[in-house]
Symmetry: C2
């Protein structure tokens, strides 16, 4: 058996402690699979005294993650601090500069600086691996980069923020509105320090941008992910969508089109009976579509100590085994700059309109849609007690431009009680 792989862990939160726990529980199993032991040499975190449920006595301590990264007695830096500027980035760069491979769970860092960091690593002959950065315990980076390497990928999709999916699931189950459930998440500790990372869709968009890069051979382009969080999703739409056979999910979709790369992270409707529609609570799901394989669906826990540490271990075992893979599946220097394409792929839409209850109102709505070239697949008008009539429409496939035209047209009809709602229906 070869010499141990010597690692240092920067960050001893949930993930870091989870990694320590696996390595101390299963040293022999890991060594048998890796062909060599994986040995924690040193760790770094804010507070040494904090009780993390794992003993730290056996490891050297560094107060400064950059000092940890520079230690000459390490082969790999495991960066599980989080945050996309400052210490984590400095530590990662210091590790590469001093000849170490890096395993990170830091999607924000890679979404913002992935291309530059991958180039740095490449020029130094080092690796950056990040299985834990996307969809927790689901080995999706590996599936995409290696398992489907024979495919021209056509679309990648996913529900990749457990907190958002928890809120949307609970809205449906309990009939409570977004705000009440946001409070529940805050109480349960399900939210990032900046909750907008979760409910604003940013965390999930970080992840999507990383999957896009691998899938399409393009440089990470987080800035062109169109992002809409779940804060504007109403309980009425959750219920009405359900009536029409759909569920609302915060769904990320990346697709290479004739016009360029479309990346969206937004609330979408999916059929209630589909795998994505069935996804409950904090679980994640990623859908990978390639020209040879068709559709692969992966489901698993998107967060938590065990699942995320499992993903970190996957990268560590790979490195211990000598598997050396470019950060985004091919050399960073060969990744193309994506041409961003906004709203390139047509889709059907769900529309909810509150109309004044007077003769001709519906005809006006229908005329606006017709004028925009949008045809109606299904429509439902509800009984009502006040003077307004809620109308649900599922359109046939249409472009975003046509939809925007119709949304503008609705305003001019004079029969809208409040702003019409439009939610994309994604074919899954």
């Amino acid at each position: 058996m070869s010499a141990p792989l010597r690692i240092g862990i920067a960050g001893l939160g949930t993930v870091g402690a989870g990694v320590l726990r696996i390595l101390s529980t299963h040293p022999d199993l890991i060594a048998a699979r890796s062909g060599r032991p994986i040995e924690v040499v040193a760790v770094s975190a804010r507070d040494r005294a904090k009780d993390r449920g794992v003993p730290l006595d056996a490891y050297a301590w560094e107060d400064d993650p950059v000092a940890l990264a520079k230690r000459p007695d390490l082969d790999v830096l495991v960066e599980v601090m989080g945050g996309h500027e400052g210490a984590p980035k400095d530590a990662l760069e210091a590790a590469i500069a001093t000849g170490k491979d890096v395993v990170t769970a830091n999607k924000a860092l890679l979404a913002h600086h992935g291309q530059a960091l991958a180039l740095e690593a490449e020029q130094s002959g080092r690796l950056i691996r990040f299985e834990a950065a996307v969809a927790g315990g689901i080995p999706v980076i590996k599936a995409l980069t290696e398992g489907l390497a024979g495919n021209e990928m056509t679309r990648v999709m996913g529900v990749m923020n457990g907190t958002c999916n928890y809120i949307l699931t609970r809205m449906e189950e309990t009939g409570q509105g977004y705000n009440a459930l946001f409070e529940e998440c805050a109480r349960l500790g399900y939210l990032e320090a900046d909750p907008n990372l979760d409910v604003g869709g940013i965390d999930a968009a970080h992840k999507l941008s990383l999957l896009s890069s691998i899938a399409f051979g393009t440089q990470v382009d987080f800035d062109h992910v169109e992002i809409e969080g779940i804060t504007a999703v109403t309980i009425e739409d959750v219920r009405r969508a359900g009536d029409m056979g759909y569920r609302i999910k915060l769904l990320g979709v990346a697709q290479m089109t004739g016009r360029g790369l479309e990346q969206r992270m937004q609330p979408c409707l999916v059929p209630a009976t589909s795998a994505l529609g069935q996804l409950q609570g904090g679980t994640n799901m990623v859908v990978l579509e390639g020209d040879a394989v068709g559709q692969i669906v992966l489901r698993g826990p998107g967060a938590g100590a065990g699942p995320t540490a499992s993903a970190v271990l996957s990268d560590l075992v790979d490195i211990a085994r000598g598997n050396r893979l470019p950060t985004f599946g091919q050399p960073a220097s060969t990744l193309r700059q994506a041409r961003p394409a906004k709203a390139a792929v047509p889709a059907p839409y769900y529309l909810r309109l509150h109309l004044l209850d007077k003769p001709g109102a519906l005809a006006k709505v229908a005329r606006v849609l017709g004028d925009a070239g949008i045809s109606i697949d299904r429509m439902r008008q509800y009984g009502h007690e006040d003077a307004t009539a809620p109308v649900l429409i599922v359109t046939h496939k249409t472009t975003r431009a046509a939809l925007d035209e119709a949304m503008g047209g609705f305003e001019e009809t004079g029969v809208m009680v409040d702003r019409p709602v439009a939610i994309r229906i994604e074919a899954v």
Copy 2:
């Protein structure tokens, strides 16, 4: 860019032709991801003249797969002939003996000779990779061997024979019996040359035995997979199980228990609303459970040219990239011999009994169950027009020994119209 990876393909059926198609459609994509081109040098099949929809002019031809395997101008043999004795085995061994890596889709060969072949490969410093052998396009071998390498696996499960799942799904949809649907599959060309490989559960059991080996670090032990096919599944049970909220699936389960390794491939009931229960038609699903990650579910096409070739390409790209992994995830010489444990894990059971419609019949049944220490979770008695009363029982968790005792006891009650049916309910 490095020198091409030179491959020979033995077998030009669906899979072989699919591999040629991917390599000729996406040479640049594959080269970018592999770091080098993958080049087909020579091929071999039974009939050169047969139209496979892909031109063969560019490749050297060998009539004999063993001669192909021995060619000095190859780095890798792709064995996609099928069959577990004779030519495929000879070709694989010849390839290893002459210093080549092997990629195979041959589950039967590995189920029967995996340990010996893995040892041969190891002693020669060569690789055997077999992503395409299990669950078609789903990168499950990679997920298990690499993606979850940090986990002590607790259970692996799967629906891994599309033909069986197609038949069971169609039974439910159409109300037709097994025999009619078997004929339909024969007409559609869904069956192996020896259909018992499919409907007898053998093909799926081959696959399960390979997953077991990786999951538990044990030598492939196909001989101790308890196998029961779907030929005895009746339309009545499909319907009755549905009434109780279940679906019948040919489900493989491998589990390491205190008594040893339990491996079963048999019709099981799973909740109709579960991911496995929702699985329709020819699609495959594999569930991987580990101590750190919890549960990962993978779904995708289990057969067909594109998906299977996608899996072959995954192995080829890995080899081209220089990723060298032991056949079953750790050196074959370190794999333990599994202690086979039959019926080690208790489970609830679904029982269907046809009772003579006379006083005390049900009491006798209840007494048999009570005497065997089996308690009843739910029971349903149906109205009936003749003199027999169909009774459905869902038991609480019980051992197989207790179940067998009860099944014997039923016979002695004198109130059974025909043989009682018992089907395991798997917790999923």
